[in-house]
Structures are given as structure tokens and as C-alpha cells.
């Protein structure tokens, strides 16, 4: 009996044009959030800059060393292999925080895409009245994960940009300008995605509370 009322009220809920417009606005917000998180993932994953420094001069031949800044951690044996070559390639990696940032944003964009597809295509799939609850719970988890990734990455970027004189950690952004610029762009995109995702989540939770026979939001 409760299921029938649920289905009937959901039908009433979805059929007014004002409600449909609000649903479309929600879909649009989710699309923008998906684009933001996906672009953040891609920009950070392809973020790479190589600069060459003159290390020493023997006779007339300067020995150049190439420094590469990449987002991911390189295992140690690859490092040994590379350092045997001249010019030697030293990899600077911004440790686990950047990898976590890329992974978290990839998961957030995948989740956004999934829910988008579900909303557009899967209206007939029956979730036994739990559709809104499932979307709200998943959204909550993804918001927390994306926030963690963003927090770690932004403070690592601040450390790279300003250094820390108390711990004798020097800044690296003055040498790797493009790397830092691309990184900040990815961070801004990720924050836009996070704020939009938070707004979407709050609207989904608010939809849960309102009794369904009142078509208000």
C-alpha cells in the first residue's frame, strides 16, 4: 500500500512543468560539475614540465641536467636507470597528494556521469521508491571524497608556491612556472566542481524532506 502511494506521488511529483524545469536545472548543474571535475582530472594527469639546468662545465662542454616535474610517483629503480644516463633525468614528484587528487576527481567525474545517464535514460527503472535516497547518499560520499582530494592538493600547491622557511622547505614554483600554472587551473576547476556538487547534494536532500504530494522545492 505504501509502495503504491509512493509511485502515485512520484508520478504527481514529476509531471508538473515547473517541476520538470527544476529537474532540468538540476541536470544542467550536474553536467557542469561533471565537466569541471573531468577537466581537473585531465589537466592534472597530463601536467608535466621539463627544464634543463647547466650543472657543471668540463672544458668546453656544459653538462646539462633535465628536471621533470610530474604529478605521479616514480618507483626507485626507474630513477636509478635514468640517473645513469647523461644528461640525467631527475624526477620531481609532488608525492601522494597529487595522485590522490587525480583519483578523487576521476571518481567524482565518473559518479557525475553515471547519475546523469541514470537521470536522462533510466526513468523507467524501478528503485522501489528509493531513487532519491540512493542518489543523495552517493552524492554525500562523493562530496566528502572530492573535498579531501581538493584539500590535500591545495595545501601541497601552497607549499610548492611559498615554501616553508621554518622547516627549510624551498619553493619550487619559481623554476616550474607552467607546471604550477596548470596545477592552479586544475585546482580551480576542481573547486568549482566541488561547490556545484555540494549544491546539488543539498537540493537532493531537501527534495527528500519535502512531502511528495506538495510540489514545491
Amino acid at each position: 500500500m505504501a509502495l503504491e502511494t509512493e509511485r502515485k506521488t512520484e508520478a504527481i511529483f514529476n509531471s508538473t512543468p515547473a517541476q520538470k524545469q527544476k529537474d532540468r536545472i538540476l541536470l544542467l548543474l550536474r553536467l557542469v560539475a561533471f565537466l569541471a571535475t573531468a577537466s581537473a582530472t585531465i589537466v592534472m594527469a597530463l601536467n608535466k614540465q621539463t627544464i634543463t639546468l647547466v650543472v657543471a662545465t668540463i672544458g668546453n662542454n656544459p653538462i646539462k641536467a633535465s628536471l621533470t616535474a610530474k604529478f605521479q610517483h616514480t618507483p626507485a629503480f626507474v630513477l636509478v636507470l635514468y640517473s645513469l644516463l647523461i644528461p640525467s633525468l631527475l624526477h620531481i614528484y609532488n608525492d601522494c597528494a597529487c595522485t590522490f587528487f587525480v583519483v578523487a576527481n576521476a571518481q567524482a567525474s565518473f559518479h557525475n556521469l553515471l547519475i546523469l545517464v541514470l537521470e536522462i535514460v533510466g526513468h523507467k527503472i524501478d528503485f522501489k521508491g528509493l531513487r532519491l535516497a540512493i542518489i543523495a547518499i552517493l552524492d554525500m560520499l562523493i562530496v566528502v571524497l572530492a573535498a579531501a582530494g581538493d584539500g590535500a592538493a591545495v595545501f601541497m600547491a601552497e607549499l610548492g608556491k611559498n615554501g616553508n622557511s621554518h622547516a627549510r622547505w624551498n619553493k619550487i614554483c619559481d623554476k616550474f612556472q607552467t607546471f604550477c600554472d596548470h596545477g592552479s587551473g586544475a585546482l580551480i576547476a576542481s573547486f568549482i566542481g566541488l561547490i556545484l556538487l555540494l549544491i546539488i547534494n543539498i537540493i537532493s536532500i531537501a527534495k527528500l524532506f519535502k512531502p511528495k504530494s506538495y510540489n514545491t522545492i
Binding site: 609532488n94 601522494c96 579531501a148 591545495v154 622547505w169 555540494l198 543539498i202 506538495y214
Partner: protein
Amino acid sequence: MFHIFKTLLARDPFSSSLDLPKAKFPMTKTRRIFTLLLRLLAMGATLAATIIMVTSHDSAEVLNLTFEAKYSNESTFKYFVIAEAVASGYSLIVLFISSKSLLRHLVMILDVVITTVLSSSVSAAMAIAHVGKKGNSHAGWLPICGLVHKFCNQVTGALIAGFIAAIIYLVLLLYTLHTVYI
């Protein structure tokens, strides 16, 4: 007076949902006690994290230079302290809002925001603490945990408390959703 209060409540659209079949999951006494307990635990964990981080302080002598480590030298740890303090104040205030009042929806939304902030602060502090412990030799950042043991241990303790607080808040959020809707 009580009669006026009842009529006011009856006109509220939230409380009239109690007539629909959706309200077959009211907040029974055990659920209310469990929620209260979770909030108390969360308040304790956030308070502990704040206090442990604020009192972390150590200094070491290296080659006639005094190397002093305080939480306020890093902006990340300052953000951690502020976030945990706000969360513990919020927990304290929400403890006094009963589960039937009109503010319970606002409380749930604020819970989501606070969980987000908590998780981001713990994650950021963990990232910086990882650099402090293991260093980043290729960027020229040496680990400082070998010099200031007490500071490192206290920061680790504060991070553990913060992590537990974030998990408790997540569990609280899911449990509130479970009692209200599913």
C-alpha cells in the same frame, strides 16, 4: 499556550507529513539516544584533535641553530585547528536541538557541510605530515620528524583523532538519513 503551539505546528508543511504513510519511521527513543551518543563522541573527538594540535610544540638544536616546531608555522595545521574547533562548537550547539524541532532539516544540511570541511582538513594535514615524516628528497624537502620527535607524535595523535571524528560524522549523517527516510 500549548494549544496555540500545536496549531502552529499543524500548519507547518513539514509536520503535516506525519499524516502520510512515509512517517512510519519516527524517531524512537533508542534512535534518539544513539544519535545523541554519536554526536557526543564526535564532539569529544574534535575537541581532542584541537587540543592536541594546539599544544604540540618542540624545539631541537642543530649546529648551534635552534629549530623550533609549532603548529602555527604551517598554514595547513592552522586550518586543521580552526576546522576542528568549529566542528566541536557546532556539535555542542546541536546537542541541544531536539529531533522533533523545526530546525532538524537545517541541522542535516549543516552536517553535510561540516563533514566536508572536516574531511578536507584531515586530508590536507595528513598530506603535509607525510612530507614532514618521509620528506620529498627530489624537491629538496628534508623530513623534520627525526629532529622533533615530540611534535611529530602529537601531530600524529591529533590526526588520528581528526580522522575518527570525520568517520563518526559520516556514520552520523548516514544514520540520520536512515532514520528519517529509509
